[in-house]
């Protein structure tokens, strides 16, 4: 499979907000509801304790979080050989790549590895126009996020169509950068 990409970053793009992630250490990755992959960076934070029917729950997260939402992704491992993929064929033919297990004792991205580059790029292929993202880390790992085509519109319980999720989001202490759907992005300051 080939992907047509525009090497030029989008005009007045999200670069300045993305630069905040450079230098931050990778903490861990998790799968959130809907099988969304979330990469956590920065300092480890625990949310308030919640008493649930199955015990205590505390939301553990990084001060920076990259949510891959419904986009396809590829993670090229740093410390150990391996390519992991979600929604994209890698290598030859239809090789789906290895599934990415957050509990893998040999993680794809080395905890503590620092982000060395965060590069947005235009994506323009049949049925998909958007902003992809490439994150490079000091252990040699690379994360690539590729927007996918929108699903069929789905009505909410009141019958109105539900908005499509962003293609990816970067949560930072000063706010959230959201890219897509489409070739657009916006930044919401924290508390806004």
């Amino acid at each position: 499979m080939t992907t047509a990409t525009d090497p030029r970053p989008p005009a007045a793009g999200p670069g300045p907000h993305l630069l905040r992630l450079v230098g931050e250490p990778f903490l861990f990755l998790r799968r959130s509801y809907g099988d969304e992959l979330v990469l956590h960076f920065g300092e480890r934070v625990f949310g308030p304790a919640r008493r649930t029917r199955h015990g205590e729950f505390r939301y553990e997260h990084g001060t920076y979080r990259l949510h891959l939402r419904g986009s396809a992704w590829v993670v090229k491992a740093g410390g150990v050989p391996g390519v992991y993929a979600g929604g994209l064929p890698v290598g030859d033919g239809d090789d789906p790549g290895r599934p990415l297990d957050p509990e893998d004792p040999t993680p794809a991205v080395t905890p503590g590895a620092r982000v060395t580059a965060v590069i947005p790029f235009g994506v323009d292929r049949p049925a998909v126009t958007g902003i992809g993202l490439r994150v490079e880390l000091s252990d040699g790992a690379t994360v690539v996020v590729i927007p996918t085509r929108p699903d069929e519109p789905e009505p909410g319980p009141d019958g109105t169509p539900l908005p499509d999720p962003a293609d990816w989001e970067l949560r930072a202490p000063d706010g959230t950068l959201a890219a897509g759907p489409g070739r657009r992005w916006h930044f919401t300051p924290a508390g806004g």
Binding site: Y33, E36, P48, A72
Partner: protein, 62 residues
């Protein structure tokens, strides 16, 4: 990769109840991991009503 239908649903419910979407999504996965699963499908995902009930639980738990 993430399933957009499910992401739209958790986004909508989080907005409706004024709760943090990220923490709520992690909470839903925590529920499923502890056997507290929904009836939407074999994955144990939650129907609209079940997810709303989870949101009420989430807000009441401090």
């Amino acid at each position: 990769m993430g399933r957009k239908k499910d992401l739209r649903r958790v986004d909508a419910v989080a907005r409706e109840f004024g709760i943090d979407r990220d923490e709520f999504g992690a909470y839903l996965e925590d529920c499923k991991a502890h056997g507290d699963r929904g009836t939407e499908n074999d994955r144990g995902d939650f129907t609209w009503d079940e997810m709303r009930e989870k949101a009420r639980e989430f807000k009441d738990q401090q």
